[in-house]
Amino acid sequence: MDGKKIMAKAYLWLLLVVLYAPIAFIVVFSFTEAKSLGNWTGFSTQLYKNLFTGSMQNSSGLLAAVNNTLIIALVASIFATVLGTIAAIGIFHLRGRKKQTMTFLNNIPMINPDIITGVSLFLLFVFLGISQGYVTVILAHITFCTPYVVLNVMPKLRQLNPNIYEAALDLGATPAQALRKVLVPALRPGMISGFILSFTMSLDDFAVTFFTRGTIGLDTLSTYIYADARKGGLTPELKPLMSIIFLVILVVLLVINVRQSKTSDNQR
């Protein structure tokens, strides 16, 4: 039994080492000044300084890309959370064929690979004659984020006592008040996880943005990296930037998980 446990642990750790090798590689080489990855020219925090003071070649491009990425992710996930929560309440109260149809439609964006979502929305904007840019990218991101909000809010609706909304109305609340004071607090955990999921998926997206950003030179971090890598010379300051993003995500995920396992321990 003990031997089995050691084997199992060894397997997990071996996989983790392989999975994290490239990430560790970036982090290590973010502390040297060399232009190309894998070239060590001594320890230096110069790249971090460049990143924060904005003193680098083509700094406006990279900083604008970071800005765009954050703004698009924030706006898209706020809209997706609102739209998805209202939709989840509606779908929850639908019955029969209508419910099946909505569930089916809600599944499509999750099943579609990014490239199909991207191409199909590109054709939509071409067909409708809408010039592509910020707005179309945000609309596209709302499209692939909202289903995940619906999916995260649904279980909270099932846990909810179906009578408390009616009780609020009976006690004289308007539907808007009942939504704000009764439903939203009860659904909040699902809304928050839906929002976080939307935000990270939007940050991560490449293909959908690539097809819906148009030709006005709008870049997110992903499209910037893609263009940069195709040109051959990766901006060195991307290394510290990636390291910081990695660290932030690591901390956020660990905090969320430790908190979750704590609350579930308390419930036990």
Partner: protein, 257 residues
């Protein structure tokens, strides 16, 4: 009660406009020539063009190999993670899921650079390794979830009735974990076929996958042919989803209770 069901209406309109209509437009553009007349030429072009066909075959091949590789490596990992006796730490689980949340382009670039530094030439081998590296968490996570929510008393009952550990796994645990494997396959197979940037980075543009030729056609304003290629991919998605349909409904209704 009924009034709240109308809250689904705005999202219904949104879905029709941004999901259904765009998919219909893929079909429409695929069946039109440049001037908007009906034609089957675009679809016919795919089936007669050697380059497109061989790229398509290669993409399917790589996707199958990658999916199998992910199951082979990912299933044991998910199994160990979900087993209370072998793993008690939630942090290990987070560490396996974490790469899913990091920009795939960054990770892929780093992988390619790591190959460069090690002096390994970029090609099919590095493509498979890199793809597996990119998609492994997407296989581990659904299988882990499925194993975690599985009722342990089934396996215990089988054991009590005299099944060997091997039999318990083959006849109880494995069948019960299949919905998780299927979700993993869905999350690995189609994205592998359709990826474009990842395959370009990992092979230094030497190997093209199906996603790359769709992207090239769309970007070079050959929308109709690009749409036809997308349509072929849509049909495959439809088929794989239909194949998987039975499993999925079970899983959804299971979640409802």
């Amino acid at each position: 009660m009924n009034k709240r069901s109308s809250w689904a209406l705005p999202y219904f309109i949104f879905l029709v406009l941004f999901v259904v209509l765009p998919l219909l437009l893929i079909v429409m553009y695929a069946l039109q020539d440049g001037s908007g007349r009906f034609t089957l030429d675009n679809v016919a072009k795919f089936f007669t063009d050697k380059d497109s066909l061989s790229t398509f075959a290669l993409s399917i091949e790589v996707a199958i190999e990658n999916t199998l590789l992910c199951i082979l490596i990912g299933y044991p990992a998910a199994f160990i993670l979900a087993d209370n006796k072998l793993n008690r730490s939630a942090v290990t689980v987070v560490l396996f899921i974490l790469p899913m949340w990091i920009n795939a382009l960054m990770r892929t670039l780093a992988t390619a650079e790591l190959f460069n530094m090690a002096g390994i030439p970029l090609g099919k081998g590095t493509l498979l390794f890199g793809m597996c590296y990119d998609y492994l968490p997407f296989m581990i996570y659904p299988i882990y979830n499925q194993l975690k929510k599985m009722d342990k008393s089934f396996a215990e009952a089988a054991q009590d009735l005299g099944a060997t550990p091997r039999q318990v796994f083959r006849k109880v645990t494995l069948p019960l974990s299949m919905p998780g494997v299927w979700s993993g396959v869905m999350m690995v197979f189609m994205p592998t076929v359709s990826t474009f940037a990842i395959s370009e980075f990992l092979t230094n543009n030497k190997i093209k996958l199906f996603g790359t030729i769709i992207q090239e056609n769309i970007n070079n304003s050959m929308w109709n042919y690009g749409a036809a290629l997308s349509l072929i991919m849509l049909i495959i998605i439809g088929l794989t989803t239909a194949l998987q349909g039975g499993e999925q409904t079970e899983e959804v209704s299971g979640g409802l209770i």
